[in-house]
Symmetry: C2
Subunit: 121 residues, 2 copies
């Protein structure tokens, strides 16, 4: 006990580092329902920059969580989808996301409760 991930040299630390990037969870979840094109993703994950989206996708792709496919049309459409591994990861992350949805409003209004009701936002 208190081993593996708590150990300094556990490779899970690296993976954790990449998965806890600001955008990974959002991008993975956005890809869960259906494959998406680059521009589509940038719209869905509102607020992400080109640089961050590209970096996140590359990172997820290198970890084998996301698949990148280039079409033959002109200009070539690029479609991203989750791999089997990525699907497992996203499903493992789903409870965390659900918890966020349910509790973040309460947490956000903890140190700065200005009385404004954002609802889910």
């Amino acid at each position: 006990m208190t081993r593996d991930v708590f150990h300094k040299d556990c490779p899970a630390r690296d993976v954790l580092g990449r998965l806890t990037g600001r955008w990974s969870l959002l991008v993975l979840t956005a890809l869960m329902t259906e494959p998406r094109r680059y521009t589509e993703l940038r719209t869905t994950v509102a607020g992400i920059s080109d640089k961050s989206l590209a970096a996140t996708l590359r990172s997820l792709q290198q970890d084998g969580l996301v698949h990148r496919e280039i079409g033959t049309a002109q200009p070539p459409p690029v479609t991203y989808s989750v791999t089997e591994l990525g699907r497992g990861a996203t499903e493992a992350l789903a409870p965390a996301l659900a918890w966020l949805r349910a509790n973040s409003a309460q947490i956000a209004g903890r140190s700065a409760d200005d009385g404004t009701d954002h609802g889910a936002f």
Copy 2:
């Protein structure tokens, strides 16, 4: 659909940002089984610095996920524990951690497979 967390101004974004910090998941999980003292935590979460541990604890405490209690002995012992809210959060994160434990070795050996067998590390 494609709302709430995908919206730019959703407060879940902030909470996500703090929860996806490099150490939050580890610290929360370390506190799940039993309350722990500061030094104990620093030992359990191997590799964390004083600065990062203190910052992580302050952040979690402000979000209401962790409780800080100061004893009366000399020098005053400080004990950290998860709150009810924190317990819910950690449980929601547990599947992600389990997935990490099960799959990170495979992922880590993806781009740099040197043949070394780290096992779970």
